[in-house]
């Protein structure tokens, strides 16, 4: 077995067993180098695997932060924004802002969104139309502490472009969950669905900055026959 794989597994099991707790930092690369009697590059290879598999987030000048594990986690990756989805359907698409207001997170919303209770957030609801049909309903919750300003002009465009170009927000990773839900009345009101539809695809995600602070929760609801998720998957990131 390769050195960096051994070290990867040692640290992984340390995280799983709670030796390294979520929210704390791993020993520094230098410490680990001494512990395992290997070069720094070998340590870095092990850590980059842990990063790729969602165990840690490295923060320059600070260390390797152990991430909270939400349930069991498949070793997968990929962000999908509306602007990316757009390309699947060409450019005959548009965005409508349904509502934009500030809200305060209560217990229930805290569980759903992952934000702390009594955080102040923007709540943004938009519909996305493809070929003049509204087929996607986007509900965004944005932490005002990180995104202080928001208006319908920005919301009509890509909020991600605003984050990255204007706010210099460094978006690092996201957790995403895809499920098939029953249609709600809100879905029926805001979208142009097919008569016979009874289901909708729900893509829920939590998005984090490079210093591992969550700033966004999104639920994106897609008409079932307009939904398509494409995935390129590697089995052993270790043997790249």
């Amino acid at each position: 077995m390769k050195n960096y794989e051994v070290i990867y597994q040692a640290i992984e099991s340390g995280i799983l067993k709670g030796v390294y707790e979520a929210g704390a930092y791993l020993p520094s690369e230098n410490k680990l180098r001494q512990t395992y009697h290997v070069s720094r590059d070998t340590i870095r290879k092990a850590l980059s695997l842990l990063t790729a598999n969602g165990y840690i987030q490295k923060i320059q000048g600070k260390g390797s932060l152990v991430l909270k594990r939400e349930q069991l986690r498949f070793p997968v990756s990929g962000l999908t924004s509306y602007k990316e989805l757009q390309n699947s359907y060409g450019y005959d698409s548009s965005t409508d802002v349904v509502s934009l207001k500030k809200i305060i997170i209560d217990k229930k919303m805290a569980d759903v969104t992952g934000f702390e209770i009594s955080s102040v957030c923007w709540e943004l609801i938009r519909t996305r139309a493809i070929d003049q049909k509204k087929v996607i309903l986007d509900k965004d919750i944005l932490l005002t502490a990180i995104v202080p300003e928001m208006d319908t002009e920005i919301a009509k465009d890509s909020i991600y472009r605003y984050f990255e170009n204007q706010l210099n927000l460094n978006i690092a990773f996201a957790e995403k969950e895809i499920t098939i839900d029953a249609l709600t009345n809100e879905d029926r009101d805001l979208l142009d669905l097919n008569q016979h539809d009874i289901n909708i695809v729900s893509v829920k995600s939590r998005v984090f900055t490079s210093d591992a602070r969550q700033f966004q929760y999104t639920e994106s609801r897609h008409q079932v026959d307009k939904f398509r998720f494409f995935d390129f998957a590697r089995r052993h990131p270790s043997t790249m």
Copy 2:
């Protein structure tokens, strides 16, 4: 801009523009090192990004093979096998083999599966039960050139375990597509669906070995309310 990012983009655009054609090899790491006047590690960093993003497959002793691009490709990753899914639901699950036979790929199947016309393949159909309810229908097409032997005993267990432990098959990557389809009569016959269901989740994938040969096509059909896809996603693999 960092050196390896510059090189990554140079090679990426070379692939996109067809300077490096799919099926051909990139210049060796040594050549690239000379071309860009950097160390081999810097080249390797750029290549590992190209690998992570699905552009190339490195093959030891041969080189970096440029992969065919199927449509646009999100920068995503992750394999999900039934055995992994199982963990979401605990271990009260079982597999039934519906049929297993050899088939020859015709034009239509070639388009669907990605295999060449007149390849000889195993066609394996199985149902997966959770809590005594059959909720997943798996249809596998396996290239006999790579998987010469298959029987219902193996198929009842994990075929992946057989691939990796018995055949020493090195599974490297997969392309996967998730869509929501209308129920077919076959779905109704073989699965224990809810009365009111009209949709089913279809996960289609093509699976490749580490020398970039496709050996499997799978369609996995999941009852909508039993389907859940969890994803951990990084925005900039470059800035790990």
